[in-house]
């Protein structure tokens, strides 16, 4: 059983705080998150699993075991892939209730609030929306 989303988010904030204001380190760390993302199953690489409204392509698929949700995701852009990896870390294998209640404020705390902008370039908002929708 994973830690609660709150605890994981706190850990993430902790990890990023070590880089202070150095955005290059933050970006490098973000891209490493992407590298460590579980491989995306080829069976899900279909248009139906694409998230609309991102400049890069983002796939998101989910599998349910008992009352927990396991996500797979991928993107052709590294930064985007890193972002979605950060999102998945907190919701991975959680219950519907926990996922619905998850706050993504930590994105702002770690200094990526720009990525939450309503521009359709990055689509972080759409990703969060899709994650929440898949469990209702």
């Amino acid at each position: 059983m994973p830690e609660t989303p709150e605890l994981i988010a706190e850990t993430i904030v902790q990890e990023f705080s070590e880089f202070g204001d150095d955005w290059t380190l933050k970006y490098e760390f973000l891209m490493e998150q992407a590298i460590h993302l579980e491989p995306f199953p080829d069976t899900y690489r279909l248009d139906a699993f694409l998230i609309p409204g991102c400049q890069s392509q983002v796939w998101l698929a989910v599998e349910r075991t008992e009352n927990r949700y396991h996500f797979f995701a991928d993107s052709d852009a590294l930064i985007t892939k890193g972002m979605i990896a950060l999102l998945l870390r907190v919701v991975q294998d959680q219950t519907a209730a926990a996922i619905s209640a998850t706050s993504f404020d930590y994105i702002t705390k770690i200094g990526f609030h720009n990525q939450l902008s309503p521009t359709r370039a990055n689509g972080l908002r759409s990703m969060i929306q899709r994650i929440k929708q898949t469990v209702v």
Partner: protein, 409 residues
Amino acid sequence: MASINDIRAAFPYFSQGPGATGYVYLDNAATTQKPFAVLEAMNQFYIHSCANIHRGVHRLSQSASIAFEDARGTTAQYFGVNNPQQIIFTSGATESINLLAQGLAKSHLKPGDSIMLSVLEHHANFLPWQEWAHAHQGTLKTLPLTSDFEIHWPELESHFKSGIALLSITAVSNTLGIRLPLEQIINMAKRYGVPVCIDAAQLAAHQYMNLDTLQPDFLVCSAHKLYGPTGTGILYLAPSWLNSLPISKTGGGAISKVSWEKTEYVDGALRYEAGTPNIAGVLGFAAALKKLQQWDLATCEKHEQQCLNYLEQQLIQIPEIIVYAQGKPKIGSLSFNVKGHHAFDVGSFLDRYQIAVRTGHHCTQPLMTHLNVSGTIRVSVGIYTSQDDINAFINALKKTLVHLLKYHA
């Protein structure tokens, strides 16, 4: 709540513009003056985050996009709309109605259908429907009004029964200032499944509206009549029309996928906002709406009402004056004529006496025909209009009459 003086202090018109030399602006139904805050919002955008929106990865584009979507939120909130996506930014009320008419023409309206309008309509809410009717053998029906501009309810109901494809009416007459009972009209229309479009170009500047409560199908207005910039307006869509109204303007930004053969459009407001919007205009508009909320439009409304009542009281004491819709409650505007004299002459003299009013048909020729006049003189107030302004107007009018009454027309 703010005093008239506080409000006037917020408008450069009174300190740096023509108002500084005593020129009295009573043409607010045509367009309003702009507060400093509106000019600042636009200048700030142009100086600090001038960028195109919604497609840029760089910070200027991102902050402009955030500001733009915040402005959508402000506008939605001002109009009592919970979901900002129902607010579509356009270049003005005229474009809003044209987009709507062209969208409805693609699916909802069928050849031979009837559209109902009132005799009060501004050409903006008349010509697009007339065009459609001409092209599609449609019929324009008239909202049944008594000679006193009251709704003839049984007649309206029988029209609804016999089938009306759309009712599109102004909330307030830009010529006479009278308000239609939207709430009751919409209620009855809903019972018969008739969609209703409200032209709020005039009302929105004088009275708070709550669209989630009023529940029209469509609503339009222009920012420049609401203390905002030129070139900006909105088209409100009820939830049931959002994403289902056919698109009548296409271009960049509204799409999710384009190939030579086929295009898919996005959902939400962006679907209808093809092309670079008037970004600065939208930010200026939101700044205006925030100011109106800060000053509390409901308080301003009462004050405007007093000005208009006082004006009417003064006017009816002058024997040569005919006030239209005399005695009826008015919002924003009042129209009159000087017996035997042309509105143009009266307006020209008033201007020389430092008063701006509008004369002519006010883009409501069907109403002019109905009233059997070629034009009127229209006095229209704004949130900064003072009783002194009305007194100055009455004085100027009296002097004007001295000139004109020497001549019979």
